[in-house]
Symmetry: C2
DNA sequence: TTATATAATTTGTCAATACAAATTATATAT
DNA sequence: ATATATAATTTGTATTGACAAATTATATAA
């Protein structure tokens, strides 16, 4: 890990430990540079990370302060893509039922969303995920074989996310999600145990690798009483 | 505007204009530094911005590339906080009906969400927003008088966001939002013209200023057929 | 005392340079 | 021709130094 990342990590720990209290000023950059035996520019790069995570407020001419509203923003993590299995690791038991597993050619919409030629086959996977044996989400994933390969029904029953990272050695990148509400459909009643008029929280997402290739276009339906999505909106850098 | 911001702006324009095609490599940093008559570090700071906006992919040892999936990410903007009035400026006519306007003491939940003492009064504003005369959203906003002052019903009928920025001269910062689905309630039927069993897309948000003070805790309810929320999830910097 | 101007402090920006790390191109050996 | 080792290229990290911009503290004047 590079130096500025190490410094960011250390400072983050201090904030989380309460060494620097919310609203309080951090030591000035020159002092931090001295303490970490590095240059001020490196301290600034470290502060960039903490600022990006909303841990600090920067005021030119004044100082760097711990966000007055800081209170260990743990649930923010839920807005990061790590797949359902990762998200609930240690918190609940995730079980998966593969309702459909197929390799076929993409529809026009799918090839467009995935940015692939219509001649490239895709995985079409339909899964029901349960948390501690309670129906949680219903997901239809489309993944192009040009990016993801050697996927099996057995893998789909475990964690596709882990497979992509560890077995294929690919790095997950950014994701764009569209969140909406919808009426209950037949599958929601059958698999999610919804009542006829229960609302559904629907997420349509495209997830990319770090090299920019899209590896998943998925639609997920949540029971309205089971899930909410936390998002963090930052002000633009320009 | 600082130099690296100007460079970022220029490069963004080129990408948006298609001068650099998706998937294509940008000129190498040394070349850009030469062209803009600046140093490579400045070019890197400019690239930081474009990377943050998902316009480019960076590969150490290889080069900097336009995101292969780039296609003018305009709707991403909808995930930024600019208030409803700003969001639809030029696209639709926003009209506002103030259903309730009151100054009172906060509830425990409100003082906690706003990070204020329970002795500090708050505005309690309940508004119906319409787009081109069609019911769009129903919002209950709580704002502390310690941050926002001189707010009137007349202001609430126009744009509170503009008032905060221009009249109070405050800078809007980050926002945390929790998105969920809910069943229709009486007010939804009355004001949003919902049917009894229509789902509602609900957003609970706390919005901060750049100095970290929270100025709004609000609950917004959308007709399920009128709005969806686009969010962009980035991989952490560490 | 109060307002105003000045100085000091602190963060932000930028340059020039050097080396590290990863990738890509080239040369070499088999 | 193919695989391997080497060199060249390109981005990433880091230092030092300098000045700009914003805020805060101090000194001065009324």
């Amino acid at each position: 890990m590079s130096l500025y990342q190490q410094v960011a990590k250390k400072l983050r720990q201090r904030i989380e430990a309460g060494n620097y209290q919310p609203g309080e000023a951090l030591p000035r950059q020159a002092e931090l540079a001295l303490e970490f035996n590095t240059s001020r520019v490196t301290i600034q790069k470290a502060l960039d990370i903490l600022f990006n995570d909303n841990l600090i407020i920067r005021k030119q001419g004044s100082g760097t302060y711990v966000s007055p509203t800081y209170s260990s923003a743990l649930d923010i993590i839920s807005s990061q893509y790590g797949g359902t299995t990762q998200l609930f690791a240690g918190k609940a038991t995730v079980s998966t039922q593969v309702l459909h597993f197929e390799i076929r050619l993409p529809t026009d919409e799918e090839s467009q969303k995935l940015h692939i030629e219509s001649t490239i086959p895709v995985y079409d996977i339909y899964r029901l995920r349960k948390l501690d044996n309670n129906p949680y989400e219903l997901t239809k994933s489309i993944m192009p074989l040009s990016v993801i390969s050697n996927l099996t029904k057995e893998v789909a029953e475990r964690s596709i996310f882990a497979f992509i990272q560890h077995d294929l050695g690919l790095e997950i990148g950014n994701a764009v999600r569209r969140i909406s509400a919808d009426k209950t459909k037949n599958d929601d009643i059958q698999y999610l145990d919804c009542e006829t008029h229960d609302p559904i929280l629907q997420v349509s997402q495209t997830v990319s690798l770090k090299d920019g290739r899209i590896f998943e276009y998925a639609q997920t339906r949540h029971r309205y009483d089971k899930g909410s999505i936390v998002v963090f909106n930052k002000v633009p850098m320009v």
